[in-house]
């Protein structure tokens, strides 16, 4: 290797041709080898230079390289601290400013999907406050509806605002249209089964045309959009996005929360179909995947609670009213009935005649009344009518009704307790019981002054004087005075007895007089048949006379006394006690004695 490396210069200049020949002869292999080595060396140098160049190139920060490295570099810088953020902040701010100045629409479109939720979040909190104040407004409202909702709130324990919301949640979304904004072409359509449909293509076209027409006809701002149409209970809600519009056909009163859902759906569709919407050329197939979004909007909220629960409060008020009216009617009816019963009882009362009666401010009654009968007010008060409630006008009269006649008879005759007065056969005044002959006599004299009776019946009235007299007579008649054999003088004991009997005899005489009878006392003297008949006749006669004398001694008038004498023979059952005197009182009719 050392030869070949040092030889090439000098020998070549001096003897080039030969040397070359020699070299080629001697060193052909080595030369060839050298040549190869030179080529290899050159290639190696080139390769090395290229590598070096490449390394140099690689170490330079080209845009391509930077693009490759930047994400990682930013990530690391972020981890290391806020230096990068701080240095980038002014640039980003400036860039956004320029972007907004140059083309606001681009940025608007870009942030549209996040703008809605952010705004809604802010609005929902203010809406909550608004709802609270709305609550206050309703609280003070005295409308029937307000009161009803208020009552429902109390009844269910739900906040009042919820109840208000509940009552506005009565709607049905019948159709949903997704419409391409510029062309008015229908991208998607969803409909509830029960709604009758016009061709969605035409409807979407017409809705777009109406919007165009309004924009054309009235001075509106460029970004203003038609948001709703209303006809009867049908409302069309239109929610515009940058490229597409969703229209809802709603029957009833949809709550504002549905509008939020609608906005969200528009945003979702824009986020999902940004490219298809921008470059829409009539092909609607890419939008079919968003059909579920539209389906979600087909909501129906029925007034289920109302249906399942009858309107209790109006019903209750109606029921109470009906009950009150019924109760009042019943009260009036019963009151009339009570009054009629009282008046009927009055009319049935003997000695009272009702001429007229009525109920106005007061209960009033006019009629005739026998002063003898009970106070009509007693009857009325028994039916619950006080003296202050009733205006009564009674004219006094004499009733000929037997019942009143009976009262009058009792008042006039003042019968003793032992006498009963009754009416028999409607018009006969019957007396029963016991009465003294004096009272009976007086009564018979008074009868013509009584009114209203056809006859008077005394058959059941016993004269108490006659009964008493009979008793006295029986006592007198049971008196027997016995004598010893052959004696006619009254024993002392017998005289005492006679003295006591004298009181009875006097009473009997007095009663006989009052009964207009004559009292006669027969004194029978008896003797037995022992001894001579003459003696016995004398004995019996004397015995009777002695009793007579004794009575006369006691003050009895001889006109009341008669004597008789009897002799008993042995066959007589009274023979054993034959020596005696018996008394027999009898009454003779005075009239017979009168001429």
């Amino acid at each position: 290797m050392s030869v070949t490396s040092s030889s090439p210069d000098e020998p070549a200049k001096q003897a080039e041709p030969r040397l070359n020949e020699l070299k080629s002869l001697l060193l052909s292999d080595e030369l060839e080898r050298l040549q190869q080595l030179q080529q290899q060396h050159k290639a190696f140098v080139e390769q090395t230079q290229e590598s070096l160049h490449r390394i140099k190139e690689d170490s330079r920060l080209t845009p391509e390289r930077l693009a490759e490295q930047l994400p990682e570099a930013v990530l690391r810088a972020t981890h290391q601290g806020e230096a990068l953020n701080n240095s980038l902040a002014p640039t980003i701010e400036e860039s956004i400013k320029i972007s907004v100045t140059k083309n606001p629409k681009g940025l608007v479109n870009a942030i549209f999907p996040i703008l809605g939720p952010a705004i809604r979040k802010a609005i929902s909190s203010s809406l909550y406050d608004l709802m609270q104040s709305f609550n206050h407004v309703i609280e003070q409202s005295i409308s029937w509806k307000g009161l009803k909702w208020r009552l429902e709130s109390i009844r269910t324990g739900k906040p009042f605002a919820d109840i208000v919301l509940l009552h506005s949640l009565l709607y049905s979304v019948e159709q949903v249209f997704l419409i391409h904004k510029t062309s008015g072409l229908i991208l998607l359509h969803e409909t509830s089964p029960q709604s009758a449909n016009q061709d969605p293509g035409l409807v979407s076209g017409m809705l777009t045309a109406i919007q165009d027409f309004l924009k054309d006809s009235f001075a509106t701002q460029p970004h203003d959009d038609l948001e709703s149409l209303r006809m009867g209970d049908l409302t069309i809600w239109i929610e515009p996005g940058p490229h597409a519009v969703i229209a809802l056909v709603i029957r009833g009163n949809a709550p504002s929360s549905l509008r939020n859902t609608l906005q969200e759906t528009v945003e979702k569709i824009h986020a999902r179909h940004a490219l298809e919407l921008e470059g829409f050329s009539g092909n609607t197939i890419p939008f079919d995947v968003s059909q579920p979004f539209l389906k979600q909007l087909l909501k129906t909220q029925y007034q289920e609670e109302q249906k399942s629960r009858p309107p209790l409060i109006p019903l209750a008020i109606m029921a109470i009213s009906i009950l009150a009216i019924a109760a009042w009617s019943i009260f009036i009816y019963l009151d009339h009935k009570r009054w009629d019963a009282a008046v009927n009882e009055l009319a049935a009362e003997p000695g009272i005649v009702i001429l007229s009666h009525q109920i106005n401010d007061k209960y009033s009654v006019t009629g005739l009344r026998d002063p003898l009968v009970a106070d009509p007010m007693d009857i009325l008060s028994r039916h619950g009518f006080g003296a202050t409630q009733v205006q009564a006008n009674w004219q006094a009269y004499h009733s000929l009704q037997p019942e009143v006649g009976l009262i009058r008879a009792r008042q006039v005759l003042s019968p003793p307790a032992s006498v009963d007065l009754n009416i028999t056969a409607d018009t006969i005044l019957a007396f029963s019981g016991q009465a003294s002959s004096a009272w009976i006599k007086q009564t018979q004299q008074t009868l013509p002054t009584l009114l209203g009776f056809s006859h008077y019946d005394f058959s059941q009235l016993i004269n108490s004087d006659a009964m008493l007299l009979q008793g006295l007579l029986d006592e007198i008649n049971s008196t027997v005075f016995y004598f010893a054999s052959g004696k006619t003088k009254l024993a002392d004991k017998a005289l005492l007895r006679l003295n006591r009997l004298m009181q009875t005899i006097r009473s009997a005489i007095q009663l006989s007089n009052s009964l207009e009878k004559t009292f006669v006392l027969n004194i029978s003297g008896y003797a037995d048949s022992q001894g001579s008949a003459t003696l016995n006749a004398n004995l019996s006669q004397q015995r009777a006379r002695n009793v007579r004398h004794a009575l006369m001694d006691l003050g009895l008038n001889g006109k009341h006394l008669q004597t008789s004498s009897h002799i008993l023979d042995q066959s007589d059952e009274r023979y054993e006690s034959g020596r005696r005197v018996m008394l027999k009182a009898t009454l003779n009719s005075t009239s017979t004695r009168r001429p």
Partner: protein
């Protein structure tokens, strides 16, 4: 089969027969009675193009005259249009020409068919082929049609449908 949806506008002067052409095309009817369209009226028709169908939403826009100019917002998003001229009134051709110019300035070049209507009254036509030369550089198709007889109507819509769906 792909179904495309396309918005097509009927443009033209006042009383040139736009509504009648749509009625003839969509419902195959014709009425002598004249109804002035107010604002816009929308119809639709499925037009087969090759193996596919184009669902054409036809915006029949009120005709222009000296007092009424079509609102540009009605034109937005259309894929093509039918420019209608009344053959018996040459001034409607001027209106059509002006409209076309405006559409082009607003939306750029769009496919359109120039329909010279009332071909049944061809003897009374004021519009001659010479007049139509002003549209020669538009690369549009000019079709003479009659809403009354139906002549050329299908052809006009079909041609437009073919052009907008390619």
């Amino acid at each position: 089969m792909v179904m495309l949806q396309k918005k097509i506008c009927m443009l033209g002067g006042f009383s040139v027969g736009k509504t009648s052409l749509v009625a003839r095309f969509v419902k195959s009817v014709y009425s002598e009675k004249y109804h002035s369209t107010i604002g816009v009226k929308i119809d639709k028709k499925l037009i087969p193009v090759g193996d596919n169908e184009v669902n054409c939403i036809l915006w029949d826009i009120a005709g222009e005259d000296d007092f009424y100019t079509i609102d540009n917002s009605y034109l937005r998003g259309m894929s093509g249009y039918i420019l209608v001229v009344d053959g018996t009134r040459s001034n409607t051709l001027d209106v059509a020409s002006e409209l076309n110019r405006r559409v082009e300035s607003l939306l750029g070049k769009l496919p359109f068919i120039l329909v010279i209507n009332k071909f049944d009254l061809v003897d009374e036509w004021e519009v001659s082929d010479l007049h139509l030369n002003k549209f020669s550089d538009c690369h549009c198709t000019i079709i003479k049609a009659s809403a009354k007889t139906g002549e050329g109507v299908e052809q006009a819509f079909h041609t437009l449908a073919c052009r907008i769906s390619t």
